[in-house]
Every structure is written in C-alpha cells, then in structure tokens.
Amino acid sequence: MKLKINGEDREVAVNPETPMLWVLRDVLGMTGTKFGCGMAQCGSCTVHMDGKPVRTCVLPASMFEGKAVTTIEGLSTDRSHPVQKAWIAEEVPQCGYCQSGQIMTAVALIAKIPEPTDEDIDREMSPILCRCGTYQRIKRAIHRAAREMKEAKSE
C-alpha cells in the first residue's frame, strides 16, 4: 500500500484494514500519534487527512491511500509552527500524552476559523480529551497562535 505522510511517499505491506494508527506507530515507527481509546472517543490519535482532522484509531489505512497525511512529526522540524510556539509560550502540556491530538486539532481549527471565539474553540476542541485538565491553557494558546498567525499574514 502506498501512503503519503508528511510529504514523503511511504510503501507499507500491511493488511489494508489495519487502523492507520497502528501503521503509523508500529510499522512506520512514528509514535507521536497516540493510542487513547480505540473508538474515536478521545482524539489522541488525531492526524490530518488532506488538512482535516481525523481519528486514526478507527479509520483503516486503506482510506488514507491517495490522501495527504500530516502527523505531529510533520508540523515542523523545529517546533516553529505557530501553534507549537503558542503551546510552549503558554506551557500547555502536563503529562503531554494527548497533546499531539490537541495540537493537530487546533491547527485544523485555526485553518478553518482564523479568529476563533471561545465558543468556536469549545465546539471544535471538545472531542479531544485531556485527563490532566490543560483545557484553559489550550484555549489561551489557540487564541495566541491565531493572533500571531494573523499578524504574520498582515506583515
């Protein structure tokens, strides 16, 4: 099966019904995407499929053929994505386990709604669970990233 992940073509020999999460983690060794629930309840496994956030724990790898897949590893090579920078500035992570899913969802949110309100953030981010309770800081970081992306665009 041919996959395009973070701009790179990858060929994997797996049962195409295998959920994409396990292809990423066990076959390709890309462990930034996390396993949390296995039934699309927590969002720790979120990646982008053609820019849209999707749950890799329930979607078979075959569904990703011919699509552009972006994982947390593909966001930047040096933590320079504005969302990553905002996450660092607000010191969001605690245990950090859910944060790849949070960040990938936040990136997609800002792409869709460049200046999200608190309500937008509540709606778009609520599917992604954080057991440590970093929600307030996530919200602050999303506002900060959106602000900085807007300023960067207007410069």
Partner: protein, 710 residues
C-alpha cells in the same frame, strides 16, 4: 576532547562523592509487600552523587529519580538543586535516573512518585545536596586562590572571590571531586533564591509539542514483539478453557496464559489484539460472580451496623449529642473510580539469562525491580528499570500488574515483549478508588454551634492489600484521612472506620482517602450551617480558630470569588476547604442548573497555601488539573459492578470533563515561607463538596451521592 575523557572527567565529582560515604542518613522502613522490593536497600549508597554531576566542560547533569507524569517534577527537582548549587539554568542537563535506594524519600522503604511527596519529603535532602556541591566547589576555588572559603560565593555557574577571582564550575570539578563532602552544608536563605519560587519553564514542554516525548507505549527494543491481553472479567477469576483456545492462528506468534488472563503475541500489536479478542474464552466461577453495585452498598450498610475501629475520639460523644439542641443525621456515598490515564497501561520487558530490562512508566520502580526479581530469579542489581514519561499516573502506575505479564511473556518467549492493554482492559482492570458509604451524626447548640460530631466510614481498605502491617486493629488510616483529623471546633468527636473489602482491587487515586472523605465532611458541615441559619463561609470561618492556615485560604477564596456579592440570575455559589498532603486549599464554585436539571460549573476560585512554592506556574497548573480531575469524578465518575464485573469500558460510559464543560479556574497562591506542602493532589478534595454545596444553594436539594449527574 574525546567523548570518553569527557565522561571520565565528568565522573570525578560523582566518584568522589560515592566514596565519601553518607551525607544524608535515610531511615528505612520496611512494610509488607514493599519490603520484598526493597531488599537491596543499602542506605550507604545514598549520597549526593545520586543527584548532581559536574563535568570539566562546565555542564551540570542532574539526575531525577522521580517520574514525570505531568506534575512538572522533571523541572522542579533540577531547579531546586541548581538554585542551591548556584548553577546557570542553561548549563543544567537533566537525566532520568535508574532506580536506586538513593532516590527514596527519607524514611520510606522504597522509591515512590506519589502522595504529593516529591518536593515536601525531599526538600532538605535536595537543598543539602545542592549546597554540599556548592561548598565543595567554593572550597576548591578558595584553595586554588589561597583565600578563605567565606570570601567566596557561587552564582550563575561561577565561583567568585576577592580581587575579581573567578572560576567556572567546570574548571573546579576535578579539584572539588577530591574533597570530602561537607557533613552539614548550609542551604541558602529564602531571600537568596534565584530559581526556587519562580516560573522556570518546564524542560519537557518542547518534546511534548512535537511528538518526540517518549512514553512507555512508544518504547521500541530490537527484536521486540507485541502482546495484547484479555484479563478475566471478574477479578480473581481465571481462564477455564486454555486448552481449547491455545491453537495459534496464522500471523500470530503465540497464545499464552499470563497471570489474570491470556495473551496473543504478534510482530505488531493490532493483529495480536484481533486474535486475543477472537478467542472463545470461558472463565472460572468466583464467589463474586453475583455481586453488583447495590449489593456492595448493602454490604457497606451492614458493616456500619457492626463493630468499627476508632480512628479518633475527643470528648464524650453521647453526652454531646444528648445535650444538643438539635441532632442531624445524613448518609453520604461515593462510587468506585477508575484512573483512566490517557496512556493505556503498558510494559515492555526483556528478560535475558544474566539480566533484565523493564521499560514502564512507573511510580514505584523498586517494586518493578522486586517483582521482576521474583519472577526471574535474577538479583535486583541485574534488573534495570527504565522510566519514560508517564501519560498520566494519578496512582495507577504504582501497580506492577503489567510488569508481571510482560516479564512472564518475555521469559517464556525469549524475546523482548511489549504488553499493551486496550482502553477497555484498562478501565475494567484498574485498582479503583474505593467506594464508600459514610454516616454522619452531629449536634448543634442553640446558637447553631456544633457540640458533637460522629462520622462512620465504611469502605474497602487499600493498605490491607499493599502494606498489611500498616493496618492496625482494623484501622486503615488512609481510608479515614480527611475525616478523622478535622480542623474545626466540633465539640465531642468520634470517627470510626468499618473495613469492608471485596473482590474489587482498590488503590491510590489522586488524593486517596481525602477524595471521598472531603465530600461528606464539607457537605455535612454545610448542612450544619444551613440548620444553624448561618452563611456557610462565615460558619466555617467561625469554627476554624485552631487553624489559621485553613482560615486564611478560606478567606482568600471567598474574597476573590466575591462571596456575598450578587451573582447573575441563576448562578449560585458553594464553598469548601480542605487540607491534604501538607497543603491547604479552599474553593468557591459557581454553578447553574439547566432546565433538564443538569448542573453546569462556570467558575472555580481556588486559594492554596502550599508553604514555600517551588514553581508558581506548576502550582497553578496542578490546581487546574486537580480541579478538572475532581470535577470529572464529581459530575460523572462512577465505576459500577454487574455480576461481579465492571460495567464501564471506555470514555463513552466513563466520562471525563471536556473542553466545553471546563469552568474558568482562577488560582490564588498564599505567599508563604512555611515548609513546602504537596501540590499534585490537594486541589482535588474540595471541588466535589464546593460544587455540591453550590447545587444546594441553587436548588435547595442536598445531593449526598456522587456522581452528581445521573
């Protein structure tokens, strides 16, 4: 400079400290199961080398012997040591240590990360270790310069002296390493702190925003295979038909019995999971097969009618009640709770003939060593326990059940094995926060003041499993913590514990006994205030003459919340205060109730007095975290039993708070130079009663059973 010589030189200071013997005498305590894990404990190994290495390249390496599970300890311990040392924060490198008795908290028989102890129980040890190395560096410099040590000082990674003398730590490392560490170093005074008390950025943040932080689940070892497990659904049962299911399907390497269940092993995890789920397993019968949650409550109620163990008694309860103007009774109940760490339970083991490696996000690495030693027959010092980041701990990762399965499989198969549980296995095979049924009886006088307070607590005992010698005459003090040592003036007091164990394994869950007892105590106190016709804040305040620290956080939370000031229509406040793990926390919750009767928590104002603060940013984060954790439990959290099995299985039926349900949390820290208190747990106990009390204010209906949302 080659890498080898660099390492050799780095070891200079480290090596000398090893030979220099004991700096900080640790009193060892062996109790129950922990003793087995701690048999290699040699207090003589304890020395400052366990914490700090200074190399000739001017790098300061700090070894952290605590597990980072979100609480920020990976940054806080190095910050304390670096501050005492006088190091520059950017010259500090942090390394996760392998287990050693040197990393035990003073007085404890085994290494733990838990009980909110990492700073408060090691505060002196850490500061002394940093101060000792600083004094050694200063002595080395003063010898070199021919001046008195008292004329020299350390700051920003330099030792300075008179006449503009100046030397880097690195240039002093070899000389300092030849010195005998001072027996009683002098830590800095608080006004000299440069890092302690400041918001030092967490060192683990960068890796956690780019998916590079390694958790146990991410460990990959050459030749490793993956195992998925099905545990017997009723605790204590076993697989009854292993011979019928042991045929190994195509693509699977093995089907193996493991303690508590059966495992399928494959080259990747997904096929193993599919295979183990496809097995048509039958399980042995147990006495608990017919038990459900109502049955458990009845067992508690029956236990309360029997003979309890008195945890605390003060004055004459019967006389107090007899003399009361009014007597109130109430019964409170809380359910079993799962930890539900975001990272499902996992463990990787590589058992070889002459040694073993175990990779697990553990809160108790020496117990992992001990369990591995028992299973393999290897000596403790041949067992290396590697600690990656923990995707949440909350007490779940004290347990070694996954170690048993991974080591058993690796030993059997002769290959490294990673055991990973599904969320469902994790949810249904936890060591749960004990359920409890609690009865209160109190008398108030004509002015509404309490004259008698009786509290009877029935619940399973954690310590009777993990450390039986700590249970004396039927009393597990952990089960009644937060109930037997109240700060209020209550007149005559009697608190009894009624141990009622079941087949459901119980364990440490963020704030442990406090998590259940604060709910009943702080709600029932609210009932007394209401019966007395008093404001619940003022009522508490009036009963706290013996504890100014309780009163101060209560006042601060009330003030910041605008207690007594008008609220928007439909909003109501509740208040609670509770001390645990050496810290004092008060919270005011603002709630409303929607048309369907469901509560909504809008705002939580939290005041904490945790003594000397190490990192205010961490304290704030831990309050956010503990409140969210406690609120998930208060609103939705319940683990129920049906036919002896846990009914919940995943986040759809064991709900945790989501972004849209998160209140605005405001944290206020009381400035203090008191000894440090804990921070990881104390924010959890007050939130359930604060919310329940606010709901009473909103509806006039007293909710005495958790969770609050049906």
């Amino acid at each position: 400079m080659t890498k080898t010589s660099d390492l050799n030189r780095r070891d200079f200071l480290k090596a000398s400290a090893v030979t220099s013997g004991l700096l900080f005498g640790f009193e060892l305590r062996f109790d129950g199961r922990m003793a087995a894990a701690a048999t290699s404990g040699d207090p003589k190994e304890t020395s400052l080398h366990a914490f700090i290495e200074v190399n000739t390249s001017d790098r300061v390496t700090i070894l952290v012997g605590k597990s980072e599970m979100g609480q920020g300890i990976y940054t806080s311990i190095p910050a304390i040591l670096a501050d005492e040392l006088g190091a520059r924060w950017d010259q500090v490198r942090i390394e996760q240590a392998l287990p050693s008795p040197a990393f035990r908290n003073p007085g404890r028989g085994t290494m733990i990360t838990g009980g909110s102890t990492s700073i408060r129980e090691n505060w002196d040890t850490l500061r002394n270790a940093g101060a000792a190395v600083r004094e050694m560096l200063i002595t080395a410099a003063s010898n070199r310069w021919g001046v008195k040590p008292s004329e020299c000082w350390a700051e920003n990674g330099l030792v300075r002296g008179p006449d503009k003398y100046l030397a880097t730590f690195g240039s002093l490392a070899i000389d300092a390493g030849k010195l005998t560490p001072p027996a009683s170093p002098t830590p800095k005074s608080a006004d000299k702190y440069t890092l302690i008390g400041t918001a030092v950025p967490r060192r683990d943040t960068p890796a956690k925003v780019e998916g590079k932080a390694q958790y146990g689940i991410d460990v990959k070892v050459p030749g490793m295979v993956y195992a998925a497990v099905r545990n017997a659904p009723v605790f204590g049962a076993d697989v009854a038909n292993l011979d019928e299911v042991s045929k190994v399907p195509d693509g699977i390497l093995a089907i193996e019995a493991v303690p508590n269940g059966v495992a399928a092993v494959a080259e990747t995890w997904w096929p193993a999971k599919k295979a183990v789920e496809a097995l048509k397993l039958k399980f042995t019968k147990t006495d608990a097969d017919g038990l459900d949650s109502d049955g458990m409550t009845e067992r508690f109620r029956k236990a309360l009618g029997g003979k309890g163990a008195t945890a605390h008694t003060e004055g004459d309860l019967e006389a107090g009640l007899a003399g009361a103007k009014r007597v109130l009774d109430a019964e409170y109940e809380v359910p079993f709770l799962a930890h539900a760490t975001m990272e499902p339970q996992n463990c990787t083991a590589r058992v070889e003939k002459d040694g073993a490696d175990v990779w697990i996000g553990s809160q108790a690495q020496e117990i992992v060593q001990g369990v591995t030693a028992q299973l393999t027959g290897l000596p403790m010092d041949k067992i290396r326990v590697h600690t990656p980041f923990l995707g949440g701990g909350f007490g779940r990762r004290f347990e070694s059940d996954l170690v048993v399965q991974a080591v058993t499989l690796s030993k059997k198969l002769g290959r490294p094995v990673k055991v990973l549980w599904t969320r469902e296995e994790d949810m249904q095979h936890d060591f749960y926060r004990p359920a409890s049924l609690v009865q209160f009886r109190a008398g108030i006088d004509g002015e509404g003041k309490p004259v008698a307070w009786q509290n009877k607590v029935a619940s399973p005992s954690i310590m009777s499993r993990v450390a039986p010698p700590m249970v004396k005459d039927g009393l597990d003090t952990v089960s009644v913590e937060g109930a037997f040592n109240l700060p209020y003036d209550l007149g005559a007091v009697k608190v009894d514990y009624f141990m009622e164990n079941s087949h459901v394994p119980v364990g440490f869950w963020r704030s442990v006994g406090h998590s259940q007892n604060a709910f009943g105590v702080e709600c029932f106190l609210d009932e007394l205030a209401h019966a007395a016709g008093k404001d619940p804040y003022e009522y508490r305040r009036g009963l706290l003459s013996r504890s100014p620290r309780h009163r101060a956080v209560l006042d601060l939370a009330a003030k910041e919340a605008g207690w007594g000031e008008p609220l928007p229509k439909g909003r109501h406040r509740g208040i609670a205060v509770h001390e645990s793990f050496g810290s004092y926390v008060a919270q005011v919750a603002e709630v409303s109730v929607d048309k369907a009767g469901d509560p909504r928590v809008h705002r939580v104002v939290c005041a904490i007095d945790c003594g000397q603060v190490t990192n205010p940013n961490t304290v704030e984060a831990q309050m956010d975290s503990a409140i969210t954790f406690g609120l998930s439990a208060a609103l939705f959290g319940t683990i129920t039993l049906l036919d002896g099995q846990v009914e919940q299985s995943n986040f759809h039926d064991y709900m945790i708070l989501r972004m849209n349900e998160m209140p605005k949390v405001e944290v206020h820290i009381v400035p203090s130079t008191e000894a440090p208190g804990g921070v990881g747990e104390p924010g959890t106990p007050p939130i359930a009663p604060a919310v329940a009390n606010a709901l009473f204010a909103a509806t006039g209906k007293r909710l005495r059973k958790l969770p609050l949302v049906e």
